[in-house]
Symmetry: D2
Subunit: 237 residues, 4 copies
């Protein structure tokens, strides 16, 4: 009788193993190959990171407390050194916003139009100088986009596929707006996503914390800089 | 002096008019043409709406309090009567989840695999009978999807364009997960989006309230059923 | 007996009318509203249109015979005057082609890499000066793309939707390569497509003629400049 | 002097190596990992492959001469055995074509509407029984699509990414219509594409030959069944 029970248990285990296929169990990978990995930096632009930027003061307490900007710069250097591809996505509009739907009921674009904000080439749209690549870095800068998601209108998805990227780590501005949209669409596009919680900040801080706790884990591994960079196996030289 | 001031004011007005183009000012439309409008109903499936569904009890207090289900059924009937196109999007996976990445660090699909949930044809994935169209309704049912956004993997964006739809109203499950993803991607795809706040509910209620207040208005007009249906101008018969 | 036959015929007609819905019959529109219409100009760049361009001599016999370039310039002016939106899409790569998959078995990108061609900012990628918009034109220039289709990686699809464009007319280079890809994907995205046969030319002339005859009509109305511009109803001023 | 020359030559080599990056030269891979490879079979449906299908007689001479159907069945079996993922994409419309734009000037959908063709569940849309997977095969069947490209409206691109597929081999119906659209968009999406020239046939035979010679090589490696299957390295068991 016991033998029967043991056999039945064994069968159940084997059946489950078969059902779960070669991978045995649905377990996320513990390491990442650098050659299959990119960091997507969302909207590191003067509006957010420069003392004269419109929203700088909103984020300054975070910068002071967590050293988010310094630590992001360090992380990006370490990632480059390991062979991770660094991708910069930015926001930007034409001088007269002709590409936007001025009458859309959503306020996002309308707000920029009314504030005359984020024009391509403007001071407030300038890129964060400390994240600029050196002459030997192969960072990719995508054209400014009008979408929320960093994948919107930039060809990013196609480029990442053609280069064999499966893993994307996402940081930037902001946890509750464009970074979330980028993480969400990355998951929907089939990427393995890493949400760099120390390299992002929220527009609404409390809600951002809730989102990091409740919904980010559905689409990503929410991870600190040090843990993430350790997961990356350097590309062969 | 007064003449000068008047002239200056006039110039300012003209400049603004020129800057804002033909539309004068970025003002959202007050009415919607039914022929250019669709309702997207996200995941009205047994898991959420049937007393035996896994998550039913989580939402029951809302159903009881707001009559969300009854009111959604009414809204959809009214919308059909005005000539709005009703689109049903659902979630669903193959019997062995072969189309999913079992090792993705995001937990969403992994959770369904481990719970053996949302299989196409299963009881829990069955569609809400009270939203089923009658024989003369021209509702569209899209194939079950594996993505978060209702636009993911369904061809919805292409179909809506080919039928001349510019406005989408979104309701369903849940305010903080799939409905939000649908609203966000609809805005990124260039739609005018209406978030039907009374026809949706959150998985995390408090966070959903925060999202409706803080970020939904960026991508949509957050609106009650009665106000929205009044905005719709019936299609010519 | 005759009455019966008449009745049967009538029923058949009514049934067909019902089957075909409100539109009665699947008949393409005879006119286009300018506000819903865009011209997409594909790759009018020095490589093709400038006497020093690599491929200029290949097309010169066509230019001489059909006045394609002159006539395209005229068409675009007429279209602007009617309120049609003019969109310019171009090809272009970074200086070291870092965004391309160098080992792709398809030869298209590889050829450009080996020839060091189409770099952004290079003489050969320069835009055709005679199609440049005047100060009051609201033409849209999209960022250079690496894809074949004019919709690839440019956000064009999203922008066109947000502006309410349903009809696209396509011309440029070449009938059998990028223009065909643009027409094909426009149809797949749900647009009503007009193939401007006099504003395009083929890389392989004979094959292009075959394609215009055999497959273009599946995805588009193949039309001459004069007929097309007559179809466009000017936008209200 | 010789030393100088040697040094110069060495520099040139190093410069080229640097310019071309790690891969040395833009050379396509000679082998494919099965785990990164899928076969996309386009529209193997009764309309084309069954003696009673509308277009069967148009293709019968090809079937007789090249044994295309038999050889495709063999190829698919060999591919499955090596661990290549087999994907079936099909065409199909609702019973009243409500999802189509009846007034599109492109004739493709209109033709199906007028012929009442390709309805989901109809005899003519039935799948080719000889390509049906066995109980242990993990083939993927996608929902019927209304687009030309096999990537259209099916979520195929997202699924392939999530499963780590970089290489796609494409065969089916027809070389000059849907197969071409699939190959073209696969290249634009960043895949490495293999055009299975013996597993496809053209609607217009001569034009298809021209396309295989002139434009297919831009987007793919045009290859015979035997050569392709030899390129595939079996997946580890």
């Amino acid at each position: 009788m016991n033998a029967m029970r043991t056999l039945a248990a064994l069968c159940a285990v084997l059946w489950a193993a078969a059902a779960f296929g070669q991978s045995g169990e649905p377990t996320p990978p513990k390491t990442l190959k650098a050659a299959e990995t990119a960091i997507i930096l969302v909207d590191f632009q003067a509006n957010f990171v420069h003392p004269e930027g419109t929203w700088y003061n909103r984020f300054k307490p975070v910068y002071d407390k967590t050293k988010m900007l310094d630590r992001t710069v360090e992380l990006v250097k370490a990632a480059r050194a390991k062979g991770v591809w660094v991708i910069h996505v930015t926001e930007g509009y034409s001088q007269d916003y002709r590409e936007l739907d001025w009458t859309n009921p959503g306020a996002f674009h309308r707000n920029q139009i009314l504030r005359k904000a984020w024009k391509v080439g403007s001071k407030e749209a300038a890129y964060f100088d400390r994240l600029q690549p050196g002459p030997n870095d192969r960072d990719l800068f995508l054209p400014p986009r009008v979408q929320v998601s960093g994948f919107g209108g930039t060809g990013l998805n196609e480029i990442l596929r053609s280069k064999g990227i499966r893993n994307v780590a996402v940081g930037g501005f902001t946890t509750d707006v464009c970074v979330y949209a980028t993480v969400l669409s990355a998951y929907d596009y089939g990427y393995r996503v890493y949400a760099l919680k120390e390299a992002m900040t929220g527009f609404y801080q409390e809600m951002s914390e809730e989102m990091l706790k409740n919904v980010y884990p559905f689409w990503s591994y929410v991870v600190g800089n040090d843990e993430w960079i350790k997961m990356v196996e350097p590309a062969p030289q």
